[in-house]
Symmetry: D2
Subunit: 359 residues, 4 copies
C-alpha cells in the first residue's frame, strides 16, 4: 500500500514539478491536490488553463501526468487531511507561515517554502548532506505538541552550493565561501516571474532576498546537532546573485578557502567520492552520483548539465587553485533549481523520512 | 589639418568599431585601411560582403560610414605608411606581433592586441587611469631605436575593472580583488566567435586565456612609474570569466578588500568624484563621467547601461559592505567591451597622445 | 508658444515612448501626465518606481526625460483639461472606451488604443498613408457635438504592413495579402507582458485578437473617402501572428497578389519612391524615407533595422516574384512597433493635424 | 544477428544524431564510423574533442553513446565496406556527390544529403509518407549496375510540411501551399553554423537555397509512381524560410488551398487519423502518432513540442479556415529538424527497408 500524499500549491511551477516527481512513484501516491481560492473547486486540468486564452499554464518539460488532470483542486486553507500520510507544500513564504502549522498538527509536512527554515526546532534538510538533522523532528513535536511536523528545504541556490561544499567541509574545513550565481528564470516562478523584456540580451544583477538566504542557510545546514539543538557552523559566506537568460539551472562561480592545505586533486577526489553511503540507501529519486566532476573546461553548462541524472546530480568543473585566499580553490557548478533544488529534492527527503520511519 | 590615421584589421569587429569611433572625428581622418590578404585589393564595401551569400558582414549598431565604403583595403603585411601620422591596430595577437614592430619603426601605433602588453617598455594604457605611463614611450623609442612606438590597451574585461578600482586604489589601497565576469558575445569576435547553438538558454563557463590576462594586467596598469620603469602593483586578483547570452557589454561582480577601512558611502563618493581632471581635458571621445553609480538595485544591466555616454562610462551598482574579507565592499559593474573596452577607448588614448604632442 | 499636450497612460511602455517622442519637441510641450488610480498623486519618478524593490520600471532605450520626473501624475478618470490643446492616450482598449469620449468633448485626442478604430466617423490614420481621412473629423464633431475629436492609430502590426502596401495599392491594385508576423515582445506591454520563461528558445504561435485586427484594419485604412464616409477597400488579408524572442521590432513575411502584372523592379521602384510628398512637409518626427529597400538578402533583421531613421522608416528586403498567386511578389519587412508603430507615429500624426489647423 | 551499419560524417551534428538514434537499436549495430581526413585515424572521443581547448564538440541533448567513444574514425573517401550491410551518410552535398555512388556500388546507402534527391531513379523518402517510392530502387540498381543503391531524405523543412500535407493531399487534393518557416539553429550545422551574435534579439530572414528545396521537393514526394518512374505532383508551393533564436525545432505557418471544400473539422480528422497503417508496422523508431493536433491556441511551441514522441511526431495547432484562397485552411506546425527531420527519420526509413527485405 502506497503512502497517500497531498501537494499544496499544485498549480505553480514547484507544485507541477512535484506532480512530475511523484508520477509512478513506488512508495507515494498523490491523493490530494490543493491550491489557492482561485483554483479551488476546479479540476486540475481546468485550474492550469488560462481562463481568458484557453492556454495550458504548465511549465515542466515533462507532460502533466494524465491521472492528475481530472482530480479536484481543494482550497489550501481549509484542507481535510484525513487519510493523508504526508503533505508537500510548494507555496510562497506568506501562505506557508499560515498553512504549514495547521497541517503539522496532524500530518508530516515537507516544505520548499522559506517560512520556517530558520526556526530552531525545524530541520533544514538537503538530501545526502545533513540527514542527521532529522533528529530535530522529535524536539519539534514535543515543543509544539504536534502529531506531525515540518521539515524544510533551503533555497534552490543554497542547495547546489551546499552539496559541493559538504565534502570540503568534512575533509578540509571551511573558512570562507565567495559565490556569484547566474540563475535560471524558473526560480522566479511563473506569474509574472521574470518579465520577458528583461531577459533578452541582458543580465539582471539582483534577486531580492536571495543573497541573505544563501549567506545564512549554510550555517544551519552545516551545523552540529548537539544536545537536541543545532550549533551553527561559523564559516563566512559572501553571495552575489544574478539572473541570466537561462530557462532552468543555476550556475555558480565559487572561491572557497579552507582550514587545511589541499590540492586540486584532493578536492577533486573528495567531490567524486562524496555521498556513497547515501546513494547506497537506494532511494527511488536518488542520483547515482551526488557530484559529477568535469575535466572539459567548457563544462558545466546549464543547458548541457542541468538534467544530469534527471536533475539530481550537481555538476562541477574548472577546479583550480587560487592564491588570493588561504588554502583556496575555485570552481563552477550547475545545479537543477527545480529538480534537486526544489520538488524532486523534497521528494527525496520524504523518501528518506519514510525509510527511517518518520512517515 | 587633421592627422591622417590608418586602421589595420579594418574588417573585424574591433576594426569596424574604430571606423565608427573615427567618423567625423575633429582631429583624425581615416586615410588608410588594411586587413589580411583575403581582403586586400577589394574596396571596403566588397571586403565586408560575404562572397557566397552577398550579406554584409558589419557588426556595429551604427551604420558603416559611407565615406569608408569605396576606400581600397591594403594588405597589412606590406603597408606603405608614408604620410600616415598614427596607426590603430585591431588584429589578433599573432599578426600583431609581426606587424606592429614594423609599423613602429616609422609611426606611432595604438594597439588593442595583446602581443606587446607585457613588454617592459610598452605602456599598457587605459584612458584616465594611468596616463603618466606614456613616459615609457621615450624609453621605448630609445631602447628600440624606433621613430614611432607602440602603446597598448588591456583586455576589454580588465578595462571596466581597472576603471572602478582606480579610485579605491588611490584612496584606500587595494589588497584583494575577486571578480566573476558575465561577458557579452562580441568580445569573442565574429567568425565564428561564439557559435549560435551555444548561446541559447546557456552560460559558457570558460574563455580561454582571459582569466590570466585579467589577473596580470592590473599589476602593470596600477604600477608606479619610477626611474624609467614600471614597478608593478602587488594586490591579488582572482578572476572567473564566463560568457552569457548578451550581445555587447561585460557585467562583472566584484569583491574588493582594501588596506584601510572604508564605508559604502566612502567608496561611492570616491567613484562618483573620480576622473574630473581627465574629463576636463575635453578630449573629443571622453565621457563626461568615468563612473556612474546607480542606487536602483536592479542596475546596472548590460542592455540598459552599456551605452551610457556612448559606451565610454562604466556603470556601477549594488555597492554594499562585505564581512568576508577585511575592509571589503562588493559591487557589480557594466562596461562596454567594444567601445571604452576596445576601439573607442583606443581612440581616446590617441587623443591624449595627440594633445601631449606624441602624435 | 508651444501647444500644451497631455499624455494619458504615461507609465506604460507606450506612454513612456510618448514622453521620449515628445522630448524637446519644437511644437508640443508635455504639460499634463495621467495614469490609473494606482499612480495618481505620485510624482512621475515615484510612479515608475517599483514600490517593493525600488527598481525603476522604465522600458525605453532612451533615458526618461529629466523634466518629466518631478511632474505630478493625475488620475486619468478625473482629468482637468483646461489649458490643454491635445491629448495623447496610450491606455488599453477598456479604459480608452470610457475616457476618450470624455476628453473629446473639449479637446482633440490622438489615440493608440483600439476602442474607437472601427467607428464610422473616427479616422484610423497612419502618417503618410491616408491623411485625407482627417476629413472625417468634421463629420465626427458634428455627429457627436464635440468640440474636440478622436483620431486613432491602427495596431502596430498593421502599420508596417500598410506602409509597404500603399505604393502597391496605388500603382498595381491589391487583391490578396498573406502575412506571417514574427513580433517583438514590447508589443505585449510590460506587466506581465510575455513571461520570460516563454521567450527563451521558443516561438509563441498565437497573439489573442491580433490577426482579426490586422485582417480588418487595412480595409478601412485603404478605404476611399466619399460623401463624408469611408468606403472600405475590398482586398483580402490573411494573417498569422506569432511572437519571437526579439525585444522590439516586428518582422513580417508577405505574399501580395495584385490586379496588374508587375515585375520585382516595378515594385522596388514603387516602394523606393513612395511618400515624397509627405516627407516634404518637413514634420519634426517624419522619417526621410517611408520605405528603405535592401538588396542584401540577409536584411531586414529586426535588431539591425528597427531603428532605421529613429524607428520611423519601414525596412523591406528579399523582394522576389511568386508564381503561386496572380501578379504576385513576396518580401519581408521590419517595422519598429513602439516608434512608428505606436507613440512616435501618433506624434507624427499630431504634427500633421497641427500643420493642417486641427490642433 | 544485427545488421552492421556505417555512419559517414559521424562527427557533425547529423552524424551525432545518428549515433544517438542507433544506440541500443534492436536491428542495427554501428560497426564503422567515418568522417573527413581531419578526423580520420583518431578515436571517436578524440575526433569530437577540440584540439585547442579540449572541449567536447557534442551537440545532442543525449550524452554520446559510451560504446562509440573508443571506436576508430575512418576516412570517408577510402572506406572499406566489407561486412557492412548499410551506410548512413550525414555529410554536405559536395562530399555526398563523390562518396555515395562509390558506396552504392556494393552497399545500400540512406542519405540525408541533398546531392541525389532530384535524380529520376533515386527515391526521396519520408517515413510513412511515400514508402511506395522504394520501388524506384530496382530501377536504380538496374540503371546504374549497382549492387547497392541510394535512397535520400528531403530537407528538414520539407519533412514536417509534407507529413501534415499528406492527409490533405489524399483526402482533399492540394492546390496551393504558402509557408513561412521559423527554423531552429541546429539546422545550420555547427561550425560555424549560425553566428552567436546574429541569434540574440533577432530574426534572420534568409537561408540560402532553402526555399528552392522546399518548393521543389514536395512535387517529387507526392509524385505518383507509374511505369517505373515518378510523375511529379503539380500543386504550387511558395516558401519563405527564416531563422529564429530557437535551438532545435522548425515552426512553420501554413496556408493550404485544396481541390475540394473541407471544414476545419474535416482537416482535423484527416490529420488525427493519419498514418495508422505505417504505425502498425511497429518499426522501432516509429512514433505512435504521425501528427498530434492541439486545441490550445498557444501550441505548438518549438520548445514544448519538438520532443513529442522523441521528436518523431509532428505537432499541429491553430487550425482555422481561411477566406483568402479557395477551400483553404491555415495552421502552424512544429517538427524536430534533427530527429524526424534528419537522422532518426533516416533510421526509420532504414527500418522500413529492412522489413521489406531491401537491407
Amino acid at each position: 500500500m502506497k503512502k497517500r500524499v497531498a501537494v499544496v500549491g499544485a498549480t505553480g511551477i514547484a507544485g507541477q514539478q512535484f506532480l512530475v516527481a511523484l508520477q509512478d512513484h513506488p512508495w507515494f501516491e498523490v491523493a490530494l491536490l490543493a491550491a489557492s481560492e482561485r483554483s479551488a473547486g476546479k479540476s486540475y486540468a481546468e485550474a492550469i488553463r488560462d481562463p481568458k486564452t484557453g492556454a495550458r499554464r504548465w511549465w515542466c518539460e515533462e507532460e502533466p501526468p494524465q491521472s492528475m488532470l481530472p482530480l479536484p483542486v481543494h482550497e489550501a486553507s481549509s484542507l481535510d487531511l484525513g487519510g493523508i500520510d504526508l503533505v508537500f507544500t510548494a507555496v510562497e513564504s506568506g501562505p506557508a507561515r499560515e498553512l504549514e502549522p495547521v497541517y503539522a498538527k496532524t500530518t508530516p509536512v515537507v516544505s520548499t517554502a522559506s517560512a520556517f527554515r530558520q526556526e530552531a526546532d525545524v530541520p533544514l534538510l538537503i538530501p545526502g548532506i545533513n540527514m542527521d538533522h532529522i533528529a530535530q523532528i522529535d524536539t519539534q513535536k514535543k515543543n509544539r505538541d504536534w502529531q506531525g511536523y515540518i521539515v524544510t528545504q533551503p533555497n534552490c541556490t543554497t542547495i547546489g552550493l551546499a552539496i559541493t561544499l559538504r565534502p570540503l567541509f568534512d575533509q578540509f574545513g571551511l573558512r570562507k565561501v565567495i559565490m556569484t550565481s547566474m540563475q535560471g528564470l524558473s526560480g522566479a516562478g511563473r506569474s509574472p516571474g521574470v518579465i520577458g523584456m528583461d531577459t533578452i540580451d541582458n543580465v539582471i544583477p539582483f534577486i531580492a532576498g536571495e543573497e541573505e538566504k544563501v549567506e545564512k542557510e549554510g550555517h544551519k545546514i552545516f551545523g552540529r546537532f548537539e544536545d537536541g539543538a543545532i550549533v551553527p557552523a561559523t564559516f563566512l559566506v559572501s553571495a552575489t546573485c544574478t539572473r541570466v537568460p537561462v530557462l532552468e539551472g543555476h550556475t555558480e562561480a565559487l572561491l572557497v578557502s579552507m582550514d587545511t592545505p589541499c590540492s586540486v586533486e584532493d578536492v577533486r577526489a573528495a567531490m567524486v567520492g562524496f555521498g556513497k553511503e547515501f546513494i547506497e540507501l537506494g532511494l527511488p529519486s536518488s542520483p547515482q552520483h551526488m557530484i559529477i566532476v568535469h575535466d572539459d573546461p567548457f563544462r558545466p553548462q546549464p543547458r548541457l548539465d542541468r538534467d544530469a541524472e534527471d536533475g539530481m546530480a550537481t555538476s562541477v568543473g574548472r577546479l583550480r587553485e587560487d592564491q588570493t585566499l588561504e588554502n583556496a580553490v575555485k570552481y563552477l557548478l550547475v545545479s537543477h533549481n527545480t529538480k534537486m533544488g526544489a520538488a524532486k529534492g523534497a521528494v527525496l527527503t520524504a523518501e528518506y523520512l519514510y525509510q527511517k520511519g518518520y512517515v
